[in-house]
Symmetry: D2
Subunit: 354 residues, 4 copies
């Protein structure tokens, strides 16, 4: 199969770098265009990027001349990893010009006609795109990915959505890479915890209820469970850890819950998408797992690893700890999995300008 050329917008940031890393030798896609701010425009990629992750870009990416975000890609599929401040304008312009934009930015994530997708959970929400295209008179469209803390969590909530989930408590211990570069000052986090991440708790609440909401008549009816989140930054490089307590409106058995989580699979698995982990949720039995440093790469960074599954505060509750790679499953990997889904189901060609 000939690979589909794709554009990466915001190519020099930390998410952009991960997209490029994960698309290296990808079987379906090939990075053929890079876009970034005017500071980088006109330079070969390797002369403007501050590459922060392992390995290095392919020779062809390294030599590629970065273009300004004001320009329009030739590719019909565009990955956007722009900072939120400028994302809305650029993404909407690209969609107007017929591009299918898959965005990691939070700028448009909460718009009622913009689907917020976790491919194992709610690809049926892509049906919003018809309304979106019509409403906004766009030849292309915009699909968004959730915040990095939400994605890992939602993969463990989805299997329970139909059995009376009522209340979600989550306490995150979030990795440094989630704040981008330069992000958190070492002087702030060395030998320390910062018990606050601006906007994060609200994002988890709103996004998990939207993603797990029900599609009805061109809109999403948000899920009815309550969510309360505490978000802290911890001195860990990659991979978010989350303590989760779920309460149901009926009794829940721990063994049954384990089996539900462990057996959860969905369309990406059935379609055998390249980036789909064999198991979206891996359940570990060791008492002291999951741990972010040891479990971040499970399922090539695309699985949520769950451990310490046990009864919660009462018979209607369960509790567990999860780890999820914040820059793979929580960012670049999710965008790529979206794209794989669009391609393999034929949606991509329908959504892009004819």
């Amino acid at each position: 199969m000939r690979k589909l050329g794709v554009a990466v917008i915001g190519a020099t940031g930390t998410v952009g770098q991960r997209i490029i890393q994960l698309l290296n030798n990808h079987p379906y896609f090939e990075v053929t265009e890079l876009f970034a701010s005017s500071r980088s425009a006109g330079k070969p990629y390797n002369q403007t990027v501050n590459w922060l992750i392992g390995g290095e870009p392919s020779q062809s990416v390294n030599d590629m001349i970065v273009r300004g975000v004001d320009q329009t890609p030739d590719s019909s599929l565009v990955f956007s990893a722009l900072p939120s401040e400028i994302a809305a304008e650029v993404e909407l312009r690209n969609a107007l010009r017929g591009k299918v934009v898959i965005s990691k930015s939070s700028a448009l994530r909460y718009e009622p006609d913009v689907p917020l997708i976790v491919p194992e959970v709610n690809t049926n929400h892509l049906r919003l795109l018809n309304k979106q295209k019509a409403n906004r008179k766009m030849k292309g469209c915009i699909i968004t990915d959730p915040n990095c803390t939400t994605t890992g969590l939602v993969l463990t909530l989805a299997p329970f959505i139909d059995i009376g989930l009522k209340e979600v408590f989550v306490n995150t211990m979030q990795a440094l890479s989630g704040a981008g570069f330069p992000g958190v000052a070492s002087l702030s986090i060395q030998d320390n915890i910062i018990p606050y991440i601006p906007g994060e708790e609200e994002k988890i609440r709103i996004e998990s209820k939207k993603i797990l909401g029900r599609y009805a008549r061109n809109s999403i009816i948000e899920a009815s469970f309550s969510v309360f989140a505490f978000c802290s930054r911890v001195p860990v490089l990659d991979c978010h850890t989350e303590s989760v307590h779920l309460r149901f409106d009926c009794q829940i058995d721990v063994h049954e819950a384990e089996s539900i989580l462990s057996n959860f699979t969905s369309e990406p698995q059935r379609l055998k998408l390249h980036s789909a982990p064999e198991k979206p949720v891996i359940v570990m039995k060791q008492s002291d797992r999951p741990q972010p440093r040891l479990d971040k790469d499970n399922g090539k960074g695309m699985s949520t690893t769950v451990g310490r599954l046990r009864q919660g505060i009462d018979d209607n509750s369960i509790a567990y700890t999860l780890c999820s790679h914040n820059t793979i499953r929580g960012a670049a990997g999710s965008s790529i999995l979206d794209a794989e889904f669009l391609l393999k189901t034929g949606l991509l060609s329908k959504l892009a300008e004819q």
Copy 2:
């Protein structure tokens, strides 16, 4: 005032070291006897201790010959910082011989006739000691301190106990020094979180319900609220951070809660005990506080610092984050505050062998 000579048993461990540090130049007490395992017995303190904390012991402590734990102190007041495995036997023996033993060990903490004390919260539980002395035919007695995670938490629960506290969720992010020395291997915790501390979650649940329980007819009726805890180890040297969510059986106003916490004082404050912090609970307004490295020494390590106080999951709930110094308020400082209370109220001379 002439100082009262006191004995420290388990003097070479991390809690023993803190007791010695905090009793340096103490206005009421003076360390006159040191006891430790047979490995240390017969040696001057500074030739057998692996001193891990700032500063250093006084010359007189450094030169003091350590005695074996099988020997009996002359002092009537004994601080025990023994490992749980051997604590019960040694502490009971000392109490039999007329000593007032203040213990940081968990060995006897859960016995129905052993008071588990946080001096701002439940000194009325000391009335159990009459029963204890009678039951066990001991001339002295044993008083215990809670686990380091419980103490900081309970100081923030106590002010709410009479207004319908129903449910406590707590997620701890615990410092390395809580595990003693050598404790946690650097290879395990570097760039990592360990989401499990053996026994800790159970301790928080049982202890907070006992401490906040009601004294009635020579026994403690445990408090009726439910508790669920997640305990994790984080790469922070000192000071535990805890995310707390409280649910009441009626509406609770955040401003009122803040005022309740902030104005909480108790007997140690009224008695102006040397180690009593001016405010047992300090409430901070900055959005990103408390932080363990910045707030551990508030109130000389004896205050619990609370921040991010806000409404919880519903109108009946509040949420906050707290920091509490695990080896000062959570261990050595609490034992010393107990002793100060006993001394200043005259209880000490009544409890020791006549």
Copy 3:
């Protein structure tokens, strides 16, 4: 004694904060004026500073209105903790107007008529100030302090300067606080070493040769030994660690070297200056010391702690490791010690405008 009011310029930065902290309850000086960039000017100190160190400023400092650096203090003694980019202009202007400026900035440190002072080592270099005032037609004057890595090192070189020091190898492992705030990104230094600090190696070489140089006829003849430095950043909050190898032009005995270092005292000790450590150099015998976290506060942060003193690569060489608190002895504490020296010797009143 009535305290002398002093001004702090650059009061909101990390060095300015330390100066304020160390002058809290200082017996000779009192902070009466604060200056900072236009961003802070006009605001009370506690509403514009991002206080990063333990404790907090006094109420009077917290409420003090910060003024712009373009304004001239009333105080005759001015501590400057400005960034190098703007320091030269502001400091020269203050000196022209009759102020005695003690500067931590590197901007003027290398000027031939500007003394670079370590009070235990080269207060005789203050004789340069006559030339400086005359040359520059200034009613006041400027005195500078060395780079934080140089100060700790020079205290251990000074005792050897007259016995044929020929070659200095130094490898620094520098703390995060040396880079100011926000300084080093956590994403860069977490679980890592950065083996390069711009300009640092050159500073150590030039500064140590100037400080240990000989005053002759209104100028400094730099010392003749060679210096080679490797400078690395390490994930440690405070206190620089340096491995040092010295080669002499004759044999050197390790025991003699130890005695020379250990017995070294100088004018600040004889004058019993408030901030002068009893021992400028403390020599430890334990095989695994000094360690930055354990030894940073030796001599209230003003002593250099030396350990692992041993023979070097040949009979003419010795080697040792040192720790020195980079923001106390390496910055704010040194400026204050300079000021104490000027005050107690009567130089201050001679140097300030008559």
Copy 4:
């Protein structure tokens, strides 16, 4: 090609784990026997190992029953990763019984008839084995690998050995994994540096002079350069960083030195051994590299990465910083590269019992 079955002795320790990890899917070798202490003997590997590194063993290794070190392997090739205390006895016994033992232990490393091998540097020292077998009347033989800090260093010294290397200063900043498990207590190294590693400085001195020594008449004449080492432990998980200063007996040009290092290749490269990195020494130009976290995996963990190459203290000197993966090139990877060399050159079958 059918794979050669090999035994791993000391299979549960950190080096043993790495050997197993690196031999997973190895083209020449297959792990068929595991040996460990009596604590593990009789158990399946995955029920006795505390696996500390990424990934996990193959199913066949996980299920393999571990045998006691007192038993003799069937394989003729034995990797020994035993603690030094017991290594000598076990390795000698295996060699007596005809095994070719490749050892990471330091127990026999300094014996005059035991070759200490870095495959790119001194495979000619393997000629010692004839003497060893004869001397000790062993049907097999013992080959040893250097200490983890020495290997990375020696790869950068070897290219200079013939141009008058006179003096080596090295300052190591060593990773936590070098101390094994549990190794360094987190309470000791958190926010700290430990400037001492028992025995390490001596090892670097002795081993580098032996490895770079000259083979003559059945013995090794140690190299004539002097070595002085400072060894510190730093809070980094994997990969040692070393600052190196070399002095020659003649002028050395930095560009020439760079070319010498960069072009260095040797027999493992010519033989295209599976674990041989394309470049044993990689020279980076960026001013702030190499960094352990970013460069540890260069050449699959088998290359030494050099940076900051510059003139040293005088015209006869150069200086640089290197990073080398301490558990791959510094331990397991070197043993495997030795074995690959023995196999591909046919030496293995000559050395094992006929």
